[in-house]
């Protein structure tokens, strides 16, 4: 429901947070495995329905359309570009935490 660049900015931060939790033994699931499809599902079953609800209740007035349009546009752009974007997320994570590049999750007491 926001500008594409804003969505990407915070999506990457969320990805980094969960990936770091995984890499440091504080999460069992590797977020890289389902991030691309997960975002599409999040749009289809959460964000877009929410945007439609905002439209239904009308509380944002004419802006409701704007939120729904952004959600749909972002969803389509993610479908096109998301897979490679996740790879970019991963690469930037490894640049930030190079020690995690070649190791998978370690138990918390080992990290």
């Amino acid at each position: 429901m926001q500008h594409w660049q804003i969505y990407l900015h915070w999506n990457e931060k969320f990805f980094e947070e969960l990936y770091h939790a995984f890499k440091t033994g504080r999460a069992e699931a590797d977020p890289t495995k389902g991030w691309y499809k997960g975002e599409i599902g999040f749009y289809d079953f959460y964000i877009i329905p929410l945007a439609k609800k905002l439209d239904t209740c009308g509380v944002f007035g004419v802006s409701s359309d704007e939120y729904l349009n952004y959600a749909q546009l972002n969803r389509d752009e993610w479908e096109r570009e998301g897979a490679s974007i996740v790879e970019e997320f991963k690469e930037r994570y490894y640049q930030k935490f190079p020690e995690h590049r070649y190791f998978s999750s370690l138990p918390a007491e080992c990290s």
Partner: protein, 232 residues
């Protein structure tokens, strides 16, 4: 203020007490909202500044001291916060930390800008609690409650014994709660507006009528109300 309550220490670009004008409005952003027009669509939650600020405030503090892992992990690790709150752990912790900070001498002037009476403070606090808890989208019980409230509020027919005023409050309540994702969105946009020179639409948020009452908070919020008694 948020530089004091983020787990990773100071974050450049966050607002401080002196910057509350930035929070209360988004002047010059390109599209001003006609509040009078919105009033007709917001179920009695038209343009109360207290509610507007409560939503912005909630957006900014809703992840204060977030530990970077989900609530389920905190419960699994049996952290002190998980033992204390049990459900909506990170959200309740954020509320507590932010509220404690707001209550300090340092933010006396900010408090005086937000509310001037005990009733206003109580209403502000209720709004902040509700909005921040609504950002917990993983708690199935809370999600089911929200879904049920939406269904009742926007049902084709009003419940038995309801009145137009009650219908209005019911819609106002769930519209505020349903904006949990919008709250996150607002936080992101507010931060982006501060951090980067990108221009965004102004926010249009609402007022709760004076008849708006206390919401049925989750039982685990008893400790928050205990804090409220201490504050009062």
């Amino acid at each position: 203020m948020l530089t004091r309550i983020t787990a990773d220490g100071p974050v450049s670009g966050f607002v401080d007490d002196d910057d509350n004008e930035t929070l209360s409005s988004n002047k010059g952003s390109g599209r001003e909202v006609d509040l009078m027009d919105l009033a007709g669509h917001s179920y009695g939650i038209t343009s109360d500044p207290l509610t507007q600020f409560a939503v912005i405030f909630s957006a900014l503090i809703h992840d204060a001291e977030h530990p970077g892992v989900p609530n389920t992990q905190l419960v699994k690790e049996e952290t002190p916060e998980a033992k204390k709150y049990q459900k909506s752990v990170a959200e309740q912790n954020s509320i507590h930390k932010a509220w404690d900070l707001l209550m300090t001498d340092e933010f006396q002037s900010l408090r005086q800008c937000i509310y001037t009476t005990e009733d206003e403070m109580r209403r502000f606090r209720q709004l902040v609690i509700n909005v921040v808890l609504a950002t917990d989208i993983c708690d199935k019980d809370l999600g089911a409650e929200r879904k049920a409230r939406w269904a009742v509020a926007f049902a084709d027919e009003s419940p038995v014994n309801s009145t137009p005023a009650i219908d209005m409050d019911r819609k106002a309540t769930i519209v505020i709660e349903r904006k949990y994702r919008i709250v996150v969105f607002i936080e992101e946009v507010v931060q982006e507006c501060i951090i980067s020179p990108i221009s965004y639409s102004s926010f249009s948020i609402y007022r709760l009528d004076s008849s708006f009452g206390c919401l049925p908070y989750h039982a685990t919020l008893a400790n928050l109300f205990a804090l409220e008694r201490k504050v009062l």
